[in-house]
Assembly symmetry: C2
Homo-oligomer: 495 residues x 2
């Protein structure tokens, strides 16, 4: 029933890039003056980081802090820490630095008086936007809007974007139930004020096991990647479907993975019907195009195409959460563009590389009345100033094609390393440079990440055994070769 498609460019096509000409290997940096290679002077965290950590711990919970960075010296793909260690950064602040560090175009944007004033005069954008706001939105966020998405809501972070997008779906669902009007009854107006139906109705959002959509209470009820995020926090009783778990390598497991899609999609329908019967109907489906925090779990374009059809069948909103995948790292501006969907999703949320949070939506998902989705700031013009500089560089330097090239090199190089060290790493998967490979177990994963660091490579884990690549869009083929070289050293030294 569901034709399975490979979720990544096959190794064969990619391999030709990996051979690489000397010219490619010597390619000049897209960030002038960038370091030529990592250099590690101390253990990481080094003594200066440790001293600062002791200071910070007096003020803030700091158990997650890895090192203190020197953001004056960091440049391009290289993160420099306070102990003078220069690291090739393939993690980039949890995937949120599209142009790496101190990109000259971003710094230049802050030379301009008007942009400085945009930083200082932060308006309540929903009430008193600045004169240039419509034009700025057209030139930035709307210029890269997914096809077919005609409206935009700006927010400040990924969690707030998803939280408010869920509200758009709830409001749309209830408006449809009222026959398209917003004539609220007195009972609805009164009951919602005390958190009770019919005004505060029982409605649910369907999400997937392994998903991550944020940590505030609404979206946390749709996050299922790690217990540490959720334990002790009350949650809504909302349905959770299995996300496909594929066998790798994909081309050897086509039939089995197709069946996995079928099973998961059947479960989605079962859950929607079950929750409808429970009196807690599904108003929306939320899904990541690649489950990122959950371990870079991919699903086939067919899976997403059919999921969209199911959402339509039950009049549930179809929200694709591109907070981590959006902004170019998969080689397209939006990862869901790889899926060849019948129509655009109903809502696409973003944050991270886009600097500002927010979401695109189809206009039928807009509330009928003002102040239904609203807050003091509704985003931040400072971030649009930065995004403007970023999008100009993406276009001028054709960075999406850089992502493709570097991604091909990483993908085929990692597959070669899989073949060379089959007991250590496996299941390389990805799109563009948004790539993960698995270590044989969690302990080895931690070990590889730590030893990469001693060789000057800052990477990060995801899921239980994944090591994820989240480099900047200016991560070039020569950086990819450097990464593969350091990883090979680490694997070769593994006892």
């Amino acid at each position: 029933m569901y034709r399975f498609q490979d979720v990544a460019r096959p190794a064969a096509t990619a391999a030709k890039h990996f051979v690489g000409t000397p010219a490619m290997r010597m390619a000049s940096s897209l960030c002038p003056g960038e370091y030529s290679a990592p250099s590690v002077e101390t253990s990481i965290p080094g003594p200066k980081s440790k001293k600062l950590l002791a200071e910070l711990s007096q003020i803030q919970p700091s158990g997650s802090v890895q090192l203190f960075a020197d953001y004056n010296k960091s440049l391009g793909n290289y993160l420099v820490d306070v102990d003078g260690n220069v690291m090739l950064d393939v993690y980039t602040q949890i995937s949120s630095m599209p142009l790496g560090y101190n990109h000259p175009d971003m710094l230049k944007a802050l030379e301009c008086d008007e942009n400085k004033k945009a930083v200082v005069n932060r308006p309540a954008l929903g009430v008193f936007p600045g004169a240039d706001w419509p034009e700025k939105l057209r030139n930035t966020l709307m210029s890269v809007a997914p096809k077919g998405m005609d409206s935009l809501t700006t927010m400040m972070c990924g969690s707030c974007s998803n939280e408010n997008a869920y509200k758009n779906m709830f409001m749309k669902y209830q408006r449809d139930k009222r026959g398209g009007t917003s004539d609220f009854t007195d009972l609805e107006k009164e009951s919602c004020m005390i958190n009770m139906p019919p005004g505060a109705p029982k409605l649910s959002i369907l999400s997937f096991k392994g998903a991550f959509h944020g940590r505030t209470l609404g979206v946390l009820s749709t996050t299922h990647s790690k217990y540490v995020h959720k334990l002790d926090v009350p949650a809504f009783d909302w349905p959770i479907a299995r996300f496909p778990v594929y066998k790798y390598p994909l081309h050897e497991n086509l039939r089995e993975n197709e069946q996995e899609d079928e099973r998961c999609l059947a479960e989605v329908e079962e859950l929607i019907e079950k929750w409808e019967k429970k009196g807690n109907p599904v108003a929306g489906i939320v899904v990541e195009p690649i489950q990122s925090e959950g371990g870079d779990n991919h699903a086939s374009p067919c899976f997403f195409q059919h999921l969209q059809k199911i959402a339509k069948k039950y009049n549930a909103g179809f929200l694709i959460d591109e907070v981590q995948t959006g902004g170019g790292p998969t080689g397209k501006m939006w990862c869901h563009e790889h899926f060849d969907l019948e129509t655009s999703p109903d809502i696409v949320t973003f944050s991270k590389k886009m600097q500002t949070g927010g979401y695109y939506l189809k206009s039928e998902f807009l509330p009928d009345m003002p102040y239904r989705v609203f807050n003091t700031w509704m985003g931040d013009p400072t971030k649009i100033v930065l995004l403007d500089a970023i999008l100009k560089v993406i276009k001028r330097e054709n960075l999406l094609s850089v992502v493709e090239k570097s991604g091909d090199i990483l993908m085929s190089g990692l597959r070669e390393l899989e073949a060379e060290f089959p007991a250590l790493i496996n299941s390389t998967r990805g799109r563009g440079t948004f790539i993960t490979f698995d270590a044989a177990d969690t302990k080895l994963r931690e070990d590889i990440v730590n030893r990469l660091l001693t060789k000057g490579v800052q990477s990060g884990g995801c899921g239980v055994v994944g090591i994820r690549m989240r480099p900047a869009l200016i991560f070039q083929p020569h950086h990819a070769h450097m990464f593969l070289d350091r990883l090979r050293q680490v694997l070769a030294e593994t006892k």
Copy 2:
């Protein structure tokens, strides 16, 4: 039982300021080059605003937009719109501009290379903070921490601050139930992943009618100011107590208002016991020191003192939400400092005037493990750069005393106007310049706000009949006189 205290400086004390010496009236502006008076050239919104509104409506829902501002020309207490209208702004972007527009010290902060780099290199602060982060926090947020509050979590906005602070309270409550340890059972770890108890326990937050704590799904269950915020959105079944509704003028209704305190506090205890019996115990109480969006509803220091005692009695966290009141507008850095509480609150959340969201907390409310309260950015160093400039100006110019002086003038002037126009306005209340008065009805309120605008005063409504003053901290006595003069004209012209 509960001794009632007046929530505002009595008119008698304030009156002496209102008389004002010529010197005071002519006081030079705290923002050099500020306009000397409002000037209105067109209807507001004017033709240029209307044209931009048509443009913006193509991209964003814009029903709440009042005008388009010219942030290059706005200065100090004056908001200038694209049609050239110069307005005295007593609303200041929903109370979020402590130094008004284009303050030279804030602009100067962006001249510095290091600060520009802080804007451009936005780190994941929970993992890779910059070298200066501990010092910056000490010099800014920690330098104005409420007494007795030794820890800090930075966030991006008020909603996220409250959402995460609730999580701190839930985690503390469950840890106490476990006897102070974080030894989670396998059942807890597994059940939380599917949103079920015991891992995702039934726990509640007690809030008050008329409260506003944000619009994401968790905090929205504690927001009860307007139905338009809540309708169609599912909510948690959490207890909602009555917030005192006082009779004004306060000094004529002491006994009655004391009884109101007693009734409301008794209801809090009843609800806590009821929810305990329902198996959904109260892990925390959230309250605004002044219910702002709900209509500037004040409660006496006694009310808050006893509320804190009740929280302690039931081992519920005591969270004071200072998102709108914090940062100086009440004449103290934190409004709850007016309440003479026995000990500090457990958690104090902030945003708006503080530029960054976040919360102070007692260290016993910190989670035991990292990544329990976490997100990609954990705040934004850009906002700390701005806050640093702001706090230096507050100190240098002694702005809290300016707030007191201007507040006294507003308060006594408004009471004089109440006496002159008793059929039109009443119930003036406030602390510092954080002042509201009520119109006789909602229609008149809208009418007064609109006609103030035609005279060049940008104010705002709150609650059902309130007109709220939320000027900048640089709002000086001469601005207060100007406001009172324009308001008197409006009232005198009211048919």
